[in-house]
Amino acid sequence: MALDTVAIAEKTPNQEQPFAALGLKNDEYQRIREILGRRPSSSELAMYSVMWSEHCSYKSSKVHLKQFGEKAPHSDALLVGIGENAGVVDVGQGYAVTFKIESHNHPSFIEPYQGAATGIGGIVRDILTMGARPIAVMDPLRFGRADAPDTRRVLPGIVAGIGGYGNCLGLPNIGGEILFDETYAGNPLVNALCVGVMRHDQIKLAKASGPGNLVVLFGAKTGGDGIGGVSVLASETFGSTGPAKRPSVQVGDPFTEKVLIECSLEIFAEDLVVGIQDLGGAGLSCATSELASGGSGGMQVALDTVPLRDPSLSPEEILMSESQERMCAIVEPGKIARFLEICKKWDVTVTVIGEVTDGDRLIITWHGEVIVDVPPRTVAHEGPVYNRPFSEPAYIARANAQVLDLPMPDESEIAAAIVKLMSSPNMADKSWVTSQFDKYVQGNTIQSQPEDSGMVRIDEKTHLGVAISTDANAPWSYLNPYEGAKLALAEAARNIATAGAKPLAVTNCLNFGSPEDPGVMWQFAETVRGLADGCLEMGLPVTGGNVSFYNQTGDVAILPTPVIGVLGVIQDVRSRTPMSFDRAGIDLYLLGETFADFAGSQWAYMHEQRGGQSPQADLQREMRLIELLLECQKLFVAAHDLSQGGLAATLSEMVLRNGIGAQIQLTQDLATALFSETPGRVVVAIDPKNSVALQEMSQKYQIVLTKIGVTGGESLTINNAVISLTALGDAFMSTFPKLFG
């Protein structure tokens, strides 16, 4: 292919261009021509097409996401908000914490190991880019039915990829989720969260300012990885296009990333960069246009200086390549020598590829000829915006009207029912998966799976720490996306508070079907509205997130799955409350009331019923509950949230954690008491001498308190039903090894 330059583009206005094959609509192409006042060169076309893809431009979601700004609660903790690579919050003592969640769903279906691995790699670079040392990762996952053959291909590969990459980076894995539903067959969800920590004055931003400053590319060499992947892989439904359109898969090199992290942190510590951006989706197209757009706009880059792994790449391909483990920094000329020296120490490839100019154009040359000359904002930030039509899908009324018909076991049947529940894949022990992840590295992990939240210490002297939980309840979101989003938010916040951490900020990954389906778009719009309203009410700012559309096979979309991550701070990690008790003779109490909330429950899922009405979120009550949990923290021996599987699951998990049983007395209808999933409930364990104090607190915060039993023995006994810990444990532990071992 002959080189297409800006000069040629000016001379050949009528040349036909393959914009449609690159995923651009005709009106989008016309807009590019308007912006430039001519046809784009082929390199410019490549840049616009990847940057204006759904994945990079958020063109379908933008109009909704802006609610996170409009309804943002006031927060003193927020140091950097939405718009940067990741949000940053102040956690006190001069520390700033950054965290973000992203999806790598489509690539993980095609090549589970590499797809998941590069998902971890990408989110870690986003955190590093903010100037922070990454300190932990989490991985909320969804799969098709556990016993489906393809799940046996996809799940082990994804798990090995997450472990293979994260372990090699030395990042403890402190939590996540693993749930199964047939709608995820062909559309597994791999969401990855990373959290990092820095001092306030170390925060870095993605902006190229200061004419004369150098544009420096460092990290791995550029190859043909995932070219077009960002637009095609992340934005198109499989099946319709067939395998011919499948672009090559990106392969990750965690060792290179580990070295890149250490090298970058050393560079940051010596304050050698003005701005920095990682190369993720859309590679250099994204990094150069975003850096320039974040600054005053002027930048000149000599693309032929980019070090290549594959020398045959064309300029268009270099611009679109998604080779992993690369970063782009803006460096003052006076500091470049030291910058290069540190890269040499770490054996990191580094090249000066251009400089910041005082104009407002991004100009890219190829052996001296201008191949790109664009206003960078039009590429990075002023892409198309769609007001996609949305309307409540027909299934909503039908499903909400459905009356559930579920077996309600009595006392003689309850033991078997609980064993069955706890051995079902969604509820069963996940250590087959989590034992493949390093949770000890860095020596600061206070809590990880199976605790309610992950917790890491960030200061060894003061014992300051942060806790994070990610939650989604897709069955509720399916029935009512507005309430579902709020309920997931409340659950994540509660999961932090049970350990004794105060919720501070929110990140989210919104996984949906095709935005071109008005019903899916309605689910999305309702979810964002619910989350924005919920965050405003709870006073928690959304600091960033990610949207993943097109998770659907043919007409069947995944359940709407908004994964909400909440980060909280704990002043002294030594005081945290674990999820279970380590001794007999402790009283167990239930905080919160139980109603017959079976819609979207695990009990309903096990009986293949999806209908009914989801519970309504009562966030005022949730906030009172959180305050109670934080104020009473010193009273608690253990505290464990109730969610999927209800009280039955919570009690089972508590007794199995340390092998200490419990005697439970319930007065309500047993099946309702045990399997209902009414939100806003927590089981707490206290020394009997503290019962008066707890009662006073429950009155102060108006949270219903019920004593349900005492700890001890070798069984979980509920009224007269006895479940031996051995039988329960065997059922709980053996499901995953049987399925995937």
Binding site: N167, F255, V259, E262, F437, G443
Partner: protein, 223 residues
């Protein structure tokens, strides 16, 4: 007393090893793989991690790092040297210890608290343990299965050079449940599980790992 902790590209548990050294009351000195100067340390720890990404074979590339020349020389003349996990793999690749660490039998990376027994409490790194002490420390690796030929195995067992053994189910297929071995002199020890992650029950499954590091102090003082 100064204990050097080597950082290779891809080392992960160097910071943890240094923390454990300090917790034991010694001074931790950071050593860089590309620098053959051992900075007058009294002992060296090769920490866990994925040096050079564990590509090719774990430890195979690190073994040739400039620092290893000095480490091997000093260790051969009696300097205490502990290799943990990746460090153990480097010791085997360097032929300072016999045998090799191969892919776990279960083929997965495995991270869990592991019970082990200390079978030799006379080495530089284990003299602080009671005879046959049973301890709980993290095991985390993908290639931790200790393999060697029969003659080597007989020799290791016969000379009491099996320093630590897994208790319970064999976690990775290691011959004779071997979790750690020493050289004949007892100054070089390789250990698959991670004592440096078990110096405080807040972050580890126990504090059982600390005696590895305090043992060193005792053995150095006694010299």
């Amino acid at each position: 007393m100064k204990v050097g902790v080597v950082t290779f590209p891809g080392s992960l548990d160097d910071h943890d090893a240094a923390r454990a050294v300090v917790a034991a009351g010694a001074q931790a000195i950071s050593l860089w793989h590309a620098d053959s100067d051992l900075k007058q340390v009294d002992a060296v720890i090769l920490p866990g991690g994925f040096s050079y990404g564990d590509y090719l074979r774990c430890g195979a590339i690190s073994r040739f790092a400039p620092v290893m020349g000095s480490v091997i020389e000093r260790a051969n003349s009696g300097m205490p040297l502990l290799g943990i996990c990746n460090g153990f793999q480097i010791l085997c690749e360097s032929h300072l210890l016999p045998g090799a660490l191969t892919r776990n039998e279960g083929l997965h990376f495995l991270c869990k608290p592991q019970k082990i027994s200390i079978e030799n409490n006379s080495t530089a790194w284990t003299n602080g343990f009671a005879e046959n002490a049973q301890i709980l420390i993290p095991l985390k690796n993908g290639e931790g299965s200790f393999q060697c030929d029969d003659a080597t195995l007989t020799q290791l067992e016969g000379e009491g050079r099996v320093v630590a053994r897994y208790l319970g189910v064999n976690p990775n297929g290691s011959r004779n449940l071997i979790a750690g071995i020493s050289n004949a002199r007892g100054n070089i020890v390789g250990l698959m599980p991670h004592p440096e992650h078990a110096i405080d029950s807040l972050t580890g499954p126990s504090a059982d790992g600390l005696p590895f590091f305090t043992s060193l102090l005792t053995s150095m003082v006694g010299r």
